[in-house]
Amino acid sequence: MKRMNSDLTPIQGLYRLAWLLFLAFVLHAPAQAQSYEVADDRGVSVRFDAPPRRVVSLLPSLTETVCAIGACDRLVGVDRYSNWPEAVRRLPQVGGGLDPNVEAIVALKPDVVLAATSSRVSERLRALGVKVVALEPKTGADVRRVIGKLGELLAVPGAERVARDIDAGVAAAAQSVPPALRGQRVYFEASGGPHAAGPQSFIGEMLRALGLANIIGPELGPFPKINPELVVRADPDLIMAGARSAGDMARRPGWQRLRAVRAQRVCVFGLDEVDILVRPGPRMPEAARLMARCVTDQGAREGRAP
């Protein structure tokens, strides 16, 4: 600290004081800036004094995204459905997304819990003093937003790179679909019910990127539960479904008449592949590749591919 010389005029002394105060403010500000707020998908703002070091994730897509942006080592607990990457399988499991074990979560002493917006446990955890950030991506834009938000939350730089990689990967998969096979009308069954993937969902966007048309219109929402008759009337060129749903497809009334069923233009994905396809996260390029391979394989089978 400089000694204030008595030979300084009062004005000069004032300027020096002002400069010291300004310096102090500037130096202090970054320390204060460490405290930040994150707004989750429900509009709730959560304040953090430091980036969270212990993270519990209750949604598989969020688990995968956290690992993709390089914060995998910060995960201390996951839900029972999170299974990628391999390291995650060794973490303690705290129940399902809908029925998480409150005690187990609290015992892990998390700095933040990542949950879906539809989870009831958020209230309980907040009442116990645990910070909860609720994120649930449904569309492609959601995925980019969630990646950015997680990067912001965990104070990890590199989040935009992950988003760009996803876009690039999907685009590359799209390139692999030859023009002759584009324009086909597709029905994608996302889960039993049947729930279809509409064009607004992230799956629907990938289908569009691959040059395929969706028989489900946008007015039905991202993942509507549809009447199987709708599929019969629309008569898609190609059907994509998981092994569980595909099993009884032929037995649905009227489905025997479908061109896709008769010509066996049905892509059936195994359980692992279904996991990749239905999670809006960093493995979307792989999902796009799976779908592209489905299209090209079908095309090759029928001798339509070049």
Binding site: R80, G95, D99, S118, L128, G193, F223, P224
Partner: protein
């Protein structure tokens, strides 16, 4: 007749035992209890998670047991349960609507998150009962009340199905609610339930003689000078509030309301005054034990407590039927 106080004491002691066990078991096991004094997280687990959860399960069971005794007395039907008057379907519809709205960003700042699912379920339960009363045009005719309850149950259930079709993403959460869940009960929830249980018990006990008179038939009850209409209305309110509070906190837990009065009656022959109190104590014990079993059976996973009570209750009813057909039907 002097059995009642001893039975009450026994049920309370067993409840304390259940509380002690409930505090010691959970996904982190006995360690949390041992380290509760030193480790703040362990202390939080024991004092803020396990203790209110076990106590909350007991309070929920007590509310349901009370409701069951009142329902069986009001309708003179041993198969009556507290959800008869549309409270279950009303709560389910309200929860479905709340979940569907919750997803929409517009509702984020609105009433719904503040009210929460518990508030929605409570309001829905009361609404269902009021709709039943409206349809039955008052409490005078028991048969009309029963029929109205069935109708309301079906209609509200259909509306709930429409809601879940329009917003299919809430279906999984709805099922979780319907299976019954005590894992989210904290101290605030316990306070709310206790605040409902005590006045409900007092009122039911004061009105118990109406239930006694009703057990002899409506004509005799009338001839005994019992003011049936206002007392019935009061009893229906007790039923609505008790089941509403229980459903709001723990979802639809079945069979506790049905089985608790039966179990009490199999142990002692009582008029309705002691019966409603002992049914509450028995119901509380049943659900507290079910909650512990739900936590322990497939640890570290948990069973939804409603599944357990359904299995246990169903088994009990089967045994009742078997005993009755074997004994040649005493009633």
């Amino acid at each position: 007749m002097t059995r009642a106080p001893w039975l009450a004491l026994a049920l309370l002691l067993l409840a304390c035992l259940a509380l002690a066990v409930g505090v010691s078991v959970g996904s982190t096991g006995f360690d949390s209890l041992r380290h509760a004094l030193q480790d703040p997280v362990a202390r939080q687990i024991v004092a803020e998670i396990r203790l209110p959860r076990t106590l909350g399960a007991w309070l929920t069971g007590a509310l349901l047991g009370l409701g069951g005794a009142v329902a069986q007395g009001l309708f003179r039907n041993p198969l009556a349960d507290p959800f008869l008057l549309g409270s279950a379907s009303g709560a389910m519809l309200a929860v479905a609507v709340a979940l569907a709205w919750w997803g929409a960003p517009a509702a984020a700042a609105a009433l719904v998150p503040r009210l929460g699912l518990t508030g929605a379920a409570f309001v829905g339960a009361l609404g269902g009962v009021m709709l039943t009363l409206l349809l039955a045009q008052g409490v005078q005719h028991t048969l009309r009340l029963l029929l109205a309850g069935v109708v309301v149950g079906h209609v509200l259930g259909a509306v709930k199905d429409l809601v879940t079709l329009a917003a299919p993403e809430v279906l999984a959460a709805m099922v979780a609610f319907m299976l019954g869940n005590t894992s989210l009960i904290g101290w605030q929830a316990c306070g709310v339930m206790a605040a409902v249980l005590l006045p409900a018990l007092a009122l039911a006990w004061a009105l118990a003689r109406v239930l006694d008179g009703l057990s002899l038939g409506e004509a005799t009850a009338h001839s005994l000078g019992l003011p049936l209409a206002p007392m019935r209305a009061a009893l229906v309110s007790v039923l609505a509030l008790a089941t509403g509070a229980a459903v709001a906190q723990a979802g639809l837990v079945g069979f506790v309301g049905l089985a608790a009065p039966h179990l009490v009656r199999s142990l002692a022959r009582l008029t309705h005054g002691p019966l409603v109190v002992l049914s509450a104590l028995m119901g509380g014990l049943l659900l507290a034990v079910a909650d512990i079993v739900a936590r322990v059976l497939i640890a570290p996973q948990e069973l939804p407590v409603g599944v357990l009570t359904a299995v246990l209750g169903g088994t009990y009813l089967l045994w009742l039927m078997y005993r009755r057909t074997r004994g040649g039907g005493g009633r």
